[in-house]
Amino acid sequence: MTQTELNLLFKKCYKSNIPQLIHLTESKEAAQEVYQEAFYVFLKKWKQGAIQNQQNLCGYIFRVAKNKWLENKRKSKEISWDSILMPNETLTDDFDQLEVAENVLEQKKRAQLILAAMKELGDNCRKLLMETIVYKVSLKKLQEELGYASYNAVKVAKHQCKKSLIRKYWKLEGEKIE
């Protein structure tokens, strides 16, 4: 499937799924959110080669969206139980709040450095890492798709790319500290 075909599918299934999802979630925004979550799941499964001979892709995406919505609903209930069990005082302490804020800032900086390091990699490395880390495409499938001579060759290539990413990250982190 090309990018254009994927866009077409996104639009086609949006048209058929969104009225039912609005009915289910009782909000257009929530319906759009859950639809996008479901399409992301579909995209991952499709890249992994897990979706084959699926007759009704829009139906599949709808089922995923419905499950996602149920899952979110369950989670939001869990969160409310959480807040009941954990009294508010635990975070009202200034020191705790400061620590949480510092951690968030630290994580944000780290994320920016990882993305900057990723940008410095070559196209092939970026693709290999995105396919394996984000989309969880198997090395066996990538070996065939990207034309590596053996399973071991693609495994080594992935490892080298990750090594290069980590080194670039360290270098950028070092430059920041300096």
């Binding site: 399409f39 995209l43 780290r110 920016q112 993305l115 995105m130 300096e178």
Partner: protein
């Protein structure tokens, strides 16, 4: 210190990768988990691998959602067009018409004016298809300036720390039709590429250049919009109009054919087909 980087432990990192990929045996997995409790350096290395996974996942998802937001806008627009008129409204309209068949004088005058104006313009040479400026007239006729300069933030480093401010400046200059200053701000944003959606920046630049009649610069900007982005098909449409404004009907037709064939936006597809027909007629005159 830049030169004092941590030592990359090949064996540990390979072990961590295999652990995360689920390639380890039960025994090795247990060993890794035990080591994580006792070896803080090893635990820190694993945390970095996990953070890489988390950051890449989130940034990819954000990027996809930006593209999808564009598609959602398009599909919502199409759904509005396709939506059948409320049957109740249709009935009431028909009922309203029953007893009122005749036109008022004002309506007749309006119809005459509508029919007369194109004829007058034609005789004045404004719509003269043989005129050398006819392609430019068509470009202006079909050009609809976007209402907003939409530029989404991305997860990258906002090195200048003022992306939000720049976004507001662009929009404000654009609303005031000050395209020159809007372009200057967009160029500043482009320098901070990892923090913004670059396709949207190039697209906005293209629109400003088009409106300033800087066709070559507009073409270069529209060509830079990435093909995987949802905005690409929109950029192609404006690219065709820019070629037309430049008087290059051959290239305009080439792009219009693609839009007419492949664009997923029904409205734009239809406009491209109309425009193509007019350009084909132009050739035969």
């Amino acid at each position: 210190m830049a030169n004092d980087l941590p030592t990359y432990n090949e064996a540990d990192n390979q072990l961590i990768e295999d652990y995360l990929d689920g390639l380890l045996s039960e025994q090795s997995r247990k060993e890794v988990e035990e080591r994580l409790q006792t070896d803080p350096d090893f635990a820190a290395q694993l945390a970095l691998h996990q953070d890489i996974e988390g950051v890449l996942n989130t940034s990819e998802k954000q990027e996809l959602k930006q593209n999808w937001a564009e598609l959602i806008l398009e599909v919502e627009e199409e759904m509005q067009v396709e939506k059948p008129e409320n049957p109740l409204k249709v009935v009431s309209k028909m009922e309203g018409k029953k007893g009122k068949r005749s036109f008022s004088w004002l309506q007749i005058a309006a119809i005459i004016l509508v029919l007369l104006i194109p004829a007058i313009l034609y005789f004045m040479g404004v719509f003269d298809r043989t005129s050398s400026t006819y392609p430019q007239q068509l470009a202006m006729e079909y050009f609809e300036a976007p209402e907003n300069m939409t530029i989404a933030k991305r997860g990258g480093t906002d090195t200048e720390g003022n992306i939000e401010e720049l976004k507001q400046q662009v929009q404000s200059f654009y609303e005031q039709k000050d395209y020159r200053n809007a372009l200057e701000v967009l160029q500043k944003m482009a320098k901070n590429g990892s923090a913004v959606n670059m396709s949207q920046v190039y697209f906005s630049m293209g629109i400003c250049h088009f409106l300033l009649k800087e066709n070559e610069a507009a073409i270069q900007s529209f060509l830079k919009v990435r093909s995987r982005d949802g905005i690409k098909s929109k950029a192609d449409w404006y690219l065709a109009l820019t070629y037309l404004q430049q008087g290059d009907t051959i290239k305009a037709k080439e792009i219009l054919k693609q839009v007419a064939e492949k664009d997923v936006n029904v409205k734009r597809k239809k406009k491209a087909q109309d425009l193509l027909e007019k350009l084909v007629e132009l050739k035969t005159i």
